[in-house]
Amino acid sequence: MATQGRRDFLKSLSAIGISTIGVAGITPSITKASPENILSKDRMGVLVDTTVCIGCRKCEWACKNAHDMPSGSIDEYENESVFDNKRRPDYSALTVVNKYQNDKTGSPINVKVQCMHCDQPACVSACIVGAFSKKENGSVVWDESKCIGCRYCMVACPFQIPSFDYHKALEPEIRKCDFCFDRTAEGKLPACIEICPVEAITYGRREDLVQVAQEKIKNYPERYNNHILGETEVGGTSWMYMAGVDFKNLDFPTLGDKSAPGVSESIQHGIFSYFVPPVALYALLGGVMWISKNRDKKEEN
């Protein structure tokens, strides 16, 4: 009877092991497919030249119009009192312009804020249901049909961009700039680019924009700080900034060149490398259980 039981035990244990490995065999192919991250060589980007921006906030108005959000009359945007406080994008505005004092030249610096559209986005990596994806044209977009509203993307984002509509009980949205994904698909320019009266924001292939920026810095070393924000930060971003002062003074976070999700993904995949560690732990515990049980049996006999 004793051997019978032991054999059963081993049989079931190995059955579990085999089925777990079976599951492990199929899963990586499925899980890899879910979050798209296509880094096309021709992905688009935007170069924001803060030395050119005049702070007219027309981009804010155009953005709201393009996304069917209440925008009001364009004349209201001439009101400068909004610059008294530093604003952040939220459910009512996907982009905002902030004004900063410039101690060097005296004329203020205007900084447009929106999603940076990272090349290795933390939100794409973090999202529990893969609702975020990096598209081939460079944009990082959110899929309403998947989102469960856990807000982990907001915890993960190094630029603190995604916002949440806290005052909706049903279907609250995660809102952030989508690089006018629908407009660009139709061949139109992103709304903010189209309306900008001074060409402070330039739309083009990311690769070309990096060159343009480098050229500008070379030609006007007086005008620009030798730093293209977003060229290498967190593995590179689609939106890049140029300024005459240190970006720290313009409220940009100081970030390294390593991609934001890099560390957590390697830990995660280390723990789960093809389910080997969990299966090994299972086998080990099974072995311990079997040996302990037998030891007790022997002692009792």
Binding site: I148, C150, A156, F164, H167, L170, P172, Y282, L285, V288
Partner: protein, 413 residues
């Protein structure tokens, strides 16, 4: 075998003044919960775009999962290492884990903006997401816990199925079904027990990986690549103290003699484990040179110091003392220190350490958030009390029992 467990139903009456008070706090929580469901997360919480996660995640979920670790640690000790003397604490620990995880799931659900979409991770997978791994692991583990609990239910009703009137016809088939289920579970329970321990190790550690992606937004005193390891070790550390704390409170509440012989022995494991945890914490701080942040007086440095001194070093010293381990009051205090230390650690990791770059205000939980958190804890206590009244969970000591342990590997008898 000298120790036999004798789980019995508690006969003391359910409502006492204390229970009434707990019910009131629970009710208050439910009111705020209703407001959250009707008016949205923003209506009753202090969360904003800078602080997306508050105490519902930091305490209810992160600390809740850690405090439910009594389930898998006692299962590992009692069933896998087969130390039968600890079997008296396994059922209470299992029930606590079961209730704990059920409320973790509920807390996650109410924190979700779209709580009705909580099933989405089952079909939309993201293998890169730590949260996905935690979510799936917890879902499976909750099911495993219910399966582990099932034999207690089947044992109670086998031979006792007595529907009345129209349903009387169902009596015999339901009884047969229960017997079949019971036999099947007897043979396969070890599969679930091992799976439970593996799943626990996985998600306890992954819970630590959650905040790694926040990168520089998290204070360097806590932000480390070994967060998953620290979370796993601290969860193992807090498992037995939780069991000790519950056992002592249950004994007092139901006027039973505390099971000191078992609890003291259980306590002897805690000191060394806290030592290991402390060693990893200290080495981590030294290697990353994060100790420089302890030289400046800040909320972070104070909270970190409290966590280390009162949550690890002091209870470690207490648990190494035989006198403390053998006194009910001493071991209770030492256990509470470990528990509060781990709760503080989770709170620190998820809330204190999280410094969003554009915050104009700092986060402090609202009355609504605190009410719901307290309310959930109280509902758990009420349910625990109800279940031990109707099911044999708590063992009455010093009465020779005949009820042999449930989850032995029946096949090898």
């Amino acid at each position: 075998m000298e120790m036999l467990m004798n789980p019995s139903q508690m006969t003391k009456k359910y409502f006492t003044p204390g229970v009434m008070l707990v019910s009131l706090i629970a009710l208050n929580g439910l009111i705020f919960l209703a407001l959250r469901l009707i008016f949205g997360v923003g209506a009753i919480t202090n969360l904003d775009n800078q602080h997306p996660w508050g105490i519902w995640i930091g305490i209810d979920v992160a600390a809740g999962v850690a405090l439910a670790a009594g389930g898998f640690t006692t299962a590992a000790l009692g069933h896998i290492m087969h130390r039968e003397e600890y079997e008296v604490v396994i059922r209470p620990a299992l029930l606590t884990a079961l209730l704990g995880y059920t409320f973790v799931a509920l807390s996650v659900a109410i924190d979700l903006g779209r709580w009705y979409s909580i099933w989405h991770p089952l079909i939309f997978w993201n293998g890169n997401s730590v949260l996905f791994e935690v979510g799936i692991c917890v879902m499976i583990y909750v099911s495993v816990l219910y399966i582990e609990f099932l034999p207690i239910v089947t044992k109670k009703f086998i031979g006792n199925v007595r529907f009345k009137g129209m349903l009387a016809k169902l009596n015999s088939p339901v009884d047969k079904l229960l017997r079949m289920l019971d036999r099947g579970l007897d043979k396969t329970m070890f599969i679930f027990i091992i799976a439970g321990v593996v799943l626990s190790c996985l998600h306890q550690s992954s819970l630590g990986t959650l905040m790694v992606i926040a990168g520089p937004k998290m204070h360097p005193l806590w932000q480390t690549p070994i967060l998953p390891l620290l979370f796993l070790i601290s969860a193992i550390c807090v498992g037995f103290p939780m069991v000790i704390m519950e056992s002592l409170i249950a004994s007092r509440s139901f006027k039973l003699k505390p099971e000191m012989h078992v609890l003291s022995k259980l306590g002897s494991y805690i000191g060394p484990m806290l030592g290991i945890y402390l060693a990893f914490k200290v080495i981590d701080i030294l290697i990353r040179e994060a100790f420089v942040y302890l030289m400046v007086l800040s909320t972070e440095s104070v909270m970190f110091s409290i966590e280390i001194i009162f949550g690890i070093i002091l209870p470690m010293r207490l648990f190494f003392s035989k006198v403390v381990r053998e006194s009910p009051l001493g071991i209770f205090i030492a256990s509470m220190l470990v528990i509060l230390g781990v709760v503080l650690n989770r709170l620190n990791n998820f809330i204190v350490a999280y410094n969003p770059p554009y915050a104009t205000t700092s986060y402090f939980p609202s009355i609504g958030e605190i009410s719901v958190t307290l309310g959930f804890v109280c509902i758990e206590v009420l349910m625990y009390r109800l279940i031990v009244k109707y099911f044999p969970i708590i063992s009455i000591p010093e009465k020779a029992g005949v009820f042999k342990t449930k989850y032995s590997i029946q096949g090898s008898k």
